[in-house]
Amino acid sequence: MISGELVTLRARRPGDEEHAARWYDDPETTRWLLNDAGPYEIPAGMTTFADARFTVDDTATGTPIGTAGLVNASPEHRRATAFLVIGDAAFRGRGYGFDTMRTLCRFAFDSMNLAKVELEVLAGNDRAVALYERVGFVREVHRRRALWVEGEWHDEYLMGLFREELR
């Protein structure tokens, strides 16, 4: 278990799928996802360097509110790609996403010994971009017309964060 100030990141476990189904039923959640959400995967074994995907609990109540993790981790280049979904609408705009991303990055630097965390985000997702910038992420690549979303071409940012940039 990895604790932040508001949230706890823990291994996914059977039973989480039902919460995930509700998150992904919410168009407000899925409109910003870069891929169609398939079934919520519960890894059979332990969380590893190669597959660190968590369920995010509200620490105060123990309610699962979303998912976050690090994928495509490269041990040579010591970077990984982060993702974050606060699926429970009641927990949006209240600092839970911010706390989750900070906690996840702390874990990436302090436990996984990564040098850099990266993420990809739709350019129009202002709230998420602002959140990531508050965490310390920097926009590095601006991919033009990179994604076909809701009948239009959208730009995408690749953002990156080094240990010393984490706030």
């Binding site: 280049h77 040098a115 990266e118 033009r144 690749l158």
Partner: protein
Amino acid sequence: MIPGELVGLRAREPEDAALFHAWNSDPETMLWWDRTYPPVPVPLQEERLRTVPSPSFDEPSFTITDLATGTAIGWCGLHHVSAEHRHAELGVMIGDAAYRGRGYGSDATRTLCRFAFDRMNLARVTLVVFAANAAARRAYEKAGFVEEGVQRRAAWKRGEWLDLVHMAVFTETLR
């Protein structure tokens, strides 16, 4: 075979294994490739090439030949092809040193991009190049690729952190 002006792109064959191995072992060829470990032995490479699928939407990977002689001179392909978002990432290697600096790499790049746009119906082709590889960046720019940003200290190579430049081209800007 897909003809360009100087090169042809054909399906990879098991017979290419020894050449691929030689190129992937050549420090000069690999100078700007993100490859940490040495290539697999020739017999294993040959076995892999025997089982790779013919070029397809999901795996458009080719051996580059000299159009005039048919000699295999390199490899090129598209990765991370997205059907929904209609983009892919390009990689081109001219393995035969005799064909470097003579326009074969540029022609292979252009031929593969045209293939991506005209046959695969993709909208965007991207590539990632080491920021320090000035010659490649110039060549890609000449082909119509535009730089979209710098991925900072993204690769650990030869004992130092290197930046990567991301570039992209659309069908209407390919030259």
